[in-house]
Symmetry: none
Subunit: 197 residues, 2 copies
DNA sequence: CTGGTGTTAGTACCAAGTGCTAATACATAT
DNA sequence: ATATGTATTAGCACTTGGTACTAACACCAG
């Protein structure tokens, strides 16, 4: 192992720990052919926490993901207000994982998912399925944006068991997404009121 | 805190650690009103590893998940055939996590996501965004179904930088989803050598 | 009273550190 | 040539959250 300069070593150190957070100072010292103390000084300068903290961070991150990925699959966006068969509002915070790396713009299906989830939720029925949707992505959404989606139940066709819902998503009061959803439901509006909530 | 029997305590210990693997023996001792040594003996009998090992286990598990969840977010469905700016085919296996628990029918946004991903992929450009989509969910899809989606590029409006794509998804040769997507792209078909932007 | 089970206390030791002081090497500037 | 600064190394005390082990005590049953 050739002895690198401080800068080179620290650069490699960052990479190495990034790739494998489970490596000890001792192992790193051997790898870079320096003393353990040097590794410690390097970590300090680079503000890299000690092994146990790194492992803990990874563990905590994973625990977050667990909490995140389950409801994320269930309902996209957090429903903050709902009046069944009338209207509903949800918010969705766009994160790095929702955007194209190349340009930082949110993938369309995430916005669709938020709207679709809300359309399902607003329907006061056990069974609600999307039959048709016409959507328009009017403005790009970026990571860090908070998307607020409002659903309004527009009408019904009781014979065909259909409910029509309008959806509008905004970021900072600017419309980013519009959609008209045709939903299928088993029962008509108002037939579910035996058990009043 | 009432003093439980050994069995009760060990039962609760298992639960407690399961819920929060980050708890130390000392905290547990306080919680159960016994000595630290007792907690250690309990852990031995129950073969529960020490705090650091538990955290490490969580961290390692999460690292596995990372590999799994990333490509899942990147493209929904596996692209098995593609001819840029012409057509593409992807398959998507519907799993339990994609369906409503209540009725076992796939949530619409997963089918939309597969179609949307494919529409983005078929466009031979750095930047492709969904502008508008009209979709029809013609038949419910269930867990275990293999959805095959075909994308066909229908036309273009070079002035407006738009590309029109038709999508059809089938399960066992039966159509479950149809969509017309209007996509925005930076450059026209075949113009990808120019630096027009 | 003796034995078994459960619990507690205490000691020595370990890994992987932090925090601090001191020594050394080496090049650069004056 | 001597001083200054940076990089590196060594050593020691201390910390956390343990393991491994021994000894003691309480209490209940035979």
């Amino acid at each position: 192992m050739k002895r690198r300069t401080k800068k080179e070593r620290q650069q490699l150190l960052l990479q190495t720990i990034e790739e494998n957070p489970f490596v000890t100072d001792e192992q790193l010292a051997v790898q870079f052919n320096v003393s353990v103390q040097t590794i410690r000084l390097d970590r300090m300068e680079l503000s890299i926490p000690e092994l146990r903290e790194r492992i803990k961070d990874v563990a905590e991150k994973n625990l977050e993901n667990e909490v995140k990925s389950l409801p994320l699959d269930e309902v996209i966006g957090e429903i903050i207000d709902i009046e069944l068969d009338a209207r509903a509002i949800s918010i969705f915070d766009v994160k790095e994982e929702h955007v194209f790396q190349r340009n930082g713009i949110a993938r369309g299906h995430h916005l669709f998912a938020q709207a679709n989830s809300l359309a399902v939720a607003v329907i006061n029925d056990e069974l609600a399925l999307t039959v048709r949707a016409n959507v328009l992505f009017s403005k790009p959404v970026k990571a860090g944006d908070r998307v607020i989606t409002k659903a309004t139940v527009r009408g019904q066709n009781t014979e065909k068991n259909r409910t029509y819902i309008d959806l509008i998503s905004t970021v900072n009061n600017s419309v980013v997404f519009k959609g008209e959803f045709e939903m299928y439901r088993t029962k008509g509006k108002g037939e579910n009121d035996e058990t009043s909530y």
